[in-house]
């Protein structure tokens, strides 16, 4: 069946291996090749996980917002599914960024949470906002309206993110010296190579997981339609979900 090959095809396989290889290489470079930072010592290595996670999270939210705009313009449910999957997954990455940020704060400043690190605080607020995406979808029954409202949410939340960053930064009179957070701006060469490799690896990981999720959604929709054609009642596979319902192509 051509669709089966499309779902579990060589492309997804290649992508998975590429993600594993690049992310592995990035972490290996971070651990063994990049020099130990003079100020913070070994604990600074979490930088190579935390910052890529945060950047990929934001890109995922942006992609979710752009897909939402495309959905609102076209009404094509596939865009809604893209938006849903991207936001859902970015939310998980966002939790990862918050946890690694908290660990880093503990290691360098001795506290699990610091309010004078505006990026981290902004991330918490962004997380709290996007965490309402699922409850919002769950509480709207009509699928078409659910998609439409979720898309409006994704657009509004996408616009909220940069303003929120500005507001939180303004609220902070004293900002920690940010030698290392400026995404490679003044990193020494070895660190920069390790950082960018980790970033690409993390992005590949996001794309791979996203593709798997999309493949699973399509497979589930196909299974449902096959069951319906066989005359069975389409029973829900898995738990209650607010994921967009799609008709298999």
């Amino acid at each position: 069946m051509p669709t089966t090959r499309k779902l579990y095809g060589t492309r997804l396989m290649l992508l998975s291996w590429a993600a594993v290889a690049v992310l592995g290489a990035g972490f290996a470079l971070a651990a063994f090749y990049a020099p130990i930072e003079a100020d913070q010592g070994f604990s600074q290595k979490i930088f190579y996980v935390h910052v890529p996670l945060a950047i990929v999270t934001l890109c995922g939210f942006v992609f979710g917002g752009v897909s939402a705009i495309q959905y609102l313009r076209s009404g094509d449910p596939r865009h809604d599914l893209r938006s849903y999957t991207a936001i859902h997954q970015s939310l998980i990455f966002c939790v990862g960024a918050l946890i690694t940020g908290s660990l880093w704060a503990k290691a360098s400043w001795g506290q699990w949470w610091v309010w004078d690190e505006p990026t981290l605080v902004s991330f918490l607020i962004v997380f709290l906002l996007y965490a309402t995406y699922q409850p919002l979808r769950f509480s709207i029954e009509d699928p078409e309206r659910q998609s439409r409202y979720a898309a409006v949410f994704a657009v509004v939340a996408g616009a909220f993110v940069p303003i929120n960053f500005i507001a939180v930064r303004l609220a902070d009179p004293l900002i920690h010296p940010r030698v290392l957070n400026q995404a490679g701006g003044d990193l020494p060469g070895e660190m920069r190579i390790a950082f960018y490799t980790s970033l690409v690896g993390m992005a590949l990981l996001f794309v791979t997981l996203y593709r798997f999720e999309m493949a699973s959604k399509h497979a589930r929709a196909q299974l449902k339609s096959i069951k319906r054609r066989l005359g069975e009642h389409a029973t829900s596979t898995g738990g209650r979900s607010a994921a967009p319902r799609i008709t298999p192509s």
């Binding site: 309402t132 409202y149 898309a151 657009v155 929120n164 500005i166």
Partner: protein, 253 residues
């Protein structure tokens, strides 16, 4: 109601056939917005409900703050925080009720049947919420000064405070209308209103509380920092445009 042949579309067709008739029968966006706003205000005046609840809620919250903080008077940043947390939570009550009567009594359907621009509803509801917030603060802010506030503000400080209140209310009204329009169509309306509005209003609260704090300082009012007013204005502007852009998608059915 069929999804495609919307009444709006029919009017468009009518307009191409006989412009004069359609022109005469179609009220302007502004006229429609004013009619809806007047309806909302009249409803509240004849059977006061939301405003009374918001005012009582604020007064009780002050009492709770008195006991929770164990303070007879507050000043500076703490006073500003108490005031704005109370205003924010009271505003949530208003946001939660904004579209409820229209949905329950069929006002929304009536509006959708009327040959007017959907944006009129956004303007009307935003203005209604702004009016509610200002009316609430007309009572709740002097009450705060009476019950909890340590320093006594002079006339100039009151004027500056009024400026901050209006700018912050504008932000709350814009975001609140957007959230209310989303939440009214959901099953768990109250929950969605709160969890959606609170994070979206964090920047407004940052601006409002930081702008208010120097005005309520114990040692006498300090000058109003302009950057917080700029933040409040910018936030209202951006979310106003955003609400204008997406509102049509929230009221089509």
């Amino acid at each position: 109601m069929p999804h495609h042949g919307s009444p709006h579309g029919d009017v468009m067709r009518l307009q191409t056939r006989s412009p004069e008739v359609a022109q005469r029968n179609t009220p302007s966006t502004f006229g429609a917005a004013r009619a809806v706003l007047q309806k909302d205000l009249r409803l509240e005046r004849r059977a006061p409900q939301t405003l009374v609840a918001m005012t009582l809620f604020s007064a009780t919250t002050y009492v709770i703050f008195h006991f929770a903080l164990d303070r007879d008077s507050v000043d500076g940043q703490l006073a500003s925080g108490v005031l704005w947390v109370t205003m924010l939570l009271a505003a949530l009550l208003g946001i939660g009720r904004l579209f409820v009567s229209d949905r329950d009594e069929g006002g929304l359907e009536g509006f959708l049947l009327a040959p007017v621009d959907r944006t009129a509803l956004l303007f009307a509801k935003g203005a209604a919420l702004l009016a509610f917030l200002l009316a609430l603060q007309l009572v709740a802010v002097p009450l705060f000064a009476l019950l909890l506030l340590g320093p006594t503000p002079d006339a100039g400080t009151w004027l500056q405070l009024l400026l901050v209140l209006v700018l912050a209310d504008l932000g709350i009204a814009v975001v609140g209308t957007l959230v209310a329009a989303i939440a009214v169509q959901t099953r768990a309306r109250d929950l969605i209103t709160s969890i959606l509005a609170l994070p979206l209003l964090v920047p407004v609260m940052i601006g409002a509380s930081n702008a208010t704090a120097p005005l309520l300082a114990q040692a006498g009012a300090e000058p109003l920092p302009g950057r917080w007013l700029a933040l409040l204005a910018l936030y209202s502007l951006i979310f106003g445009l955003l609400a204008y852009a997406v509102f049509d998608f929230l009221v089509e059915d």
